[in-house]
Amino acid sequence: MPTLVEARAHPAFREASKGREAPLLSVQDLHLHFVTSRGVVRAVEGISYEVHPGEMVAIVGESGCGKSVSALSIMRLLPKLTARIVSGKIMFNGRNLLDLSDSEMRSVRGKDISMIFQEPMTSLNPVLKIGFQLTEALYMHQQISKTAARERALELLKMVGIPDPERRLDQYPHQFSGGMRQRVMIAIGLACNPKLIIADEPTTALDVTIQAQILKLMKDLSRDLGIAMIVITHNLGIVARYADRVNVMYAAKMVEQADAESIFSTPRHPYTIGLLRSVPRLDRPREGKLATIEGLPPNLLSPPSGCRFADRCKAAIDTCRASDPQLRPMDEGQLVRCFRAEEIAERGPEAFGLAPPHGEARSAKTIDRSKPLLKLDRLETFFDVSSGFSLFGSEKSIVKAVNDVSLDIYQGETLGLVGESGCGKTTVGRTILQLEKATGGTIRYREKDLAQLSSDEMKKVRRDIQVIFQDPFSSLNPRMTIGQIIAEPMLVYKLQPNRKAARERVSDLLTTVGLYPYMADRYPHELSGGQRQRVGIARALALEPSFIVCDEPVSALDVSIQAQVINLLEELQERLGLTYLFIAHDLAVVRHISDRVAVMYLGRMMELADRDELYDNPLHPYTKALLDAVPVPDARLERERDHRILGGEVPSPLRPPQGCVFSTRCPLASKECRQEVPPLREIRPNHYAACIKL
């Protein structure tokens, strides 16, 4: 077995470090603890990695595995009172950052190393002008005149592609969209020509098309300016598209390190393998069932001895539980923390049951399309957001959240609804659920117009249409136990004769969604995100509905958990004959689960077709752009793909463009497009699109 030193001499490794000798940054055996009232959280345990100049290094891993805090410890921005760096070194340019005095460290921050955070909406100071925030670092680190600083700020804004920078400098953050704010954050990071930029989930909060723009920008800058980058993310697609090297963390430890291609082509750690297999992919045929990593990551307050992944690992053997494996170099230069890495390399992961062979495409459901279960006809939901008093002739501000949407949903099918943030997906769902009042059009459920129902009839319909929400943390009442949450609707509707019967039913439901009956007595905060999402599903099922609106039910979950929930939803549909309206912005997920897919943009329907038809032959330029923007978790494929990145941003819903709402960003757009709203037309059999260019 080669040692680490030897491994670093491996050609693959050398290639990855671009032949440059000394690493710019080297994190060595870092241990980080949080001392809290509930105990010691060992948030980082012995991670090491290097970053070479000009390189883009990715750190991936599940939520809570220590990605962010390890990055923050480089900047020494951890909370002073609780965080303790117990041991390790962070060598940067030959100096150990951990040994620097506070003021020395301050002069490193922003000058040599800068950092970009996840939330562009909150990371800029709302009361200071953009120009000032951009130049603040300059004033901090170098003697610079006002005019020179302004020059530089202009230059930076141009560099990150913000149009009309002169004017923008004197504006405030709230006047910028999310994507532009993130560009500003990057510009701030670049201000002093740093050697290293650390980006913590820089695009997670952004839409796919914007995400693609930002990542490309970062990659270009890194290449052109020779800036090294550490990108923290849980999106493997992004890693595949841009990273040179990848570090995979699991439960505070590094489990695998390699250059990007090897990670994707020959993952060796069972966790990495699971991670890669559990995401649905646009580039592969649709699988029957997603691979999952069962179970949950360990609690860092009291991690298990032995391999941390052992409990969830199909390949685990007794040794794994008994002792903790070390991070070891493999022949190819990959570093893996697994006793069985060589065996896996030899026999392939399938042999260990780590990833089932791609299942057969599910037998196509037979769906009766003669009579829709739910029929939306020219549905409109407008919001009046003008500020109360419209005395002064100020015109009403109206957000046309859903504008002229017609849809049929048939019994037993899943209709996927995709589109970027703010396009009205949720509003469609909420209007169906009668949580918002439709301002126009009709909703017919089982041929009854919902607007005309008596309150008794409405109650019946309410039982039949249920909902699952995105955020597992706020969709359960924190003051009720799981049992109470699930039993409440049954008791209100008197579906169960008494509490005892309800309790039993709760147990059944919990089992149905893959939880344990004993969890009925717990409170939501005592469950993990995935478990809560299952509770949400159980609550929806409690009323025995036939139609469920799933509003981004998996968007907030880690990929490994996401797969579990998707599988569960599919299983339930099969067993109970449910119909889903499945709202999501992840095209791959939608592709996986839906029978038909609708694409929305700025409140309007852009395209509607059967799933395979839509993904194989997208017609609308917007759909095409969306599909292009989604990175595929495979480095080699990504490098070969041709990225046409959709420019611009989604216009304000208060002032949607004339004519086709997409015309401002559409590569095909011409004058005619801006004149009239294109109707949704059946371009091919059962394939509708709203574009006059087709």
């Binding site: 900047m75 921005l77 009172l81 506070d102 301050r106 002069s107 490193v108 921050r109 922003g110 000058k111 800068s114 950092m115 955070f117 939330e119 909150t122 990371s123 800029l124 100071n125 709302p126 009361v127 200071l128 603040e136 670092a137 901090m140 680190h141 405030y172 709230h174 006047q175 954050m185 701030i188 201000a191 500020s387 109360g388 008093f389 005395l391 002064f392 100020s394």
Partner: protein, 317 residues
Amino acid sequence: MLAYTIRRILLMVPTLLGVAILVFLMLRLMPGDIVETMLREGGGNVPAHVIEQERVRLGLDKPIHIQFISWFGGILQGDFGASMWTGKPVLHEIGSRLELSLQIALMATFLAVLIALPLGTLAAIFKNTIVDHVIRVISIAGLAIPSFWLGMVIILLLLTFYGWIPPLTFTSFFEDPWRNLSQLIWPAMAVGYRYSAVATRMARSSILEVMQEDYIRTARAKGVYERLVVARHGMRNALLPVITVIGLEFAFLIGGLVVTEQVFNLNGIGRLFVQATTRGDYTMIQGLVLLVAVTFIMVNFLIDMLYAALDPRIRYK
């Protein structure tokens, strides 16, 4: 922005109307009226017809809605009526007391801000250390010590140790600043302590909250001096809730210094309030309540304007 301002001003109207109606009704619900106090207080044998005659003179015999209409109609023309007690115009009576109340409120505000901002910031920065504990104890004590008690103690100390008490009557600051201050500094201190306690606590929690924000982390990541992080990035955002507290407290001071004015024998609005209420001087109480309500609303309005000045998110709405 202009539309916003106008809208805000228009929104005051229903509130003020509500206040006017409420105070009017409330007063008529109170048993007894001013005539009895005025004529019977001496305990003499005043015949009933004299009392009745006086009621008629004051218009108290008319039906309530007529009284209201004539009062409110007067207000719309800028006439707040005459005090039923002295027969002099309400505005004149209030005016002669307002300067004093306003000055105390301003001085107390000044003191409070001077104390609260540094202490609150210190406490936030040194959260959970001894500094924080000491500041918190000092500020909670400010809430806990009744200001009348503090006022009593201040006066008694001055009297016992210096055989001196502050001047008894008000002199305008512009006439004789020294005499003016030597009268008003004491009540301003007694009130300012409590006031600063409220503001200190708000400053502390607000700064603590702001210092958790993402943009603070951004500033640190830029390598900004910690002092500047607090002063430039923290304070400005943390100031908003502190301003609210200060503003509301200020509005309260205009009419709420009842006990302090009593203790320091100040001829201010609060005292007038109590006198008017105990006498049942309807027009005076109505005028005063409206004054306080207007102050309160105006202060709220100013706070919002200040918010807008400090927070561009509001400014550009």
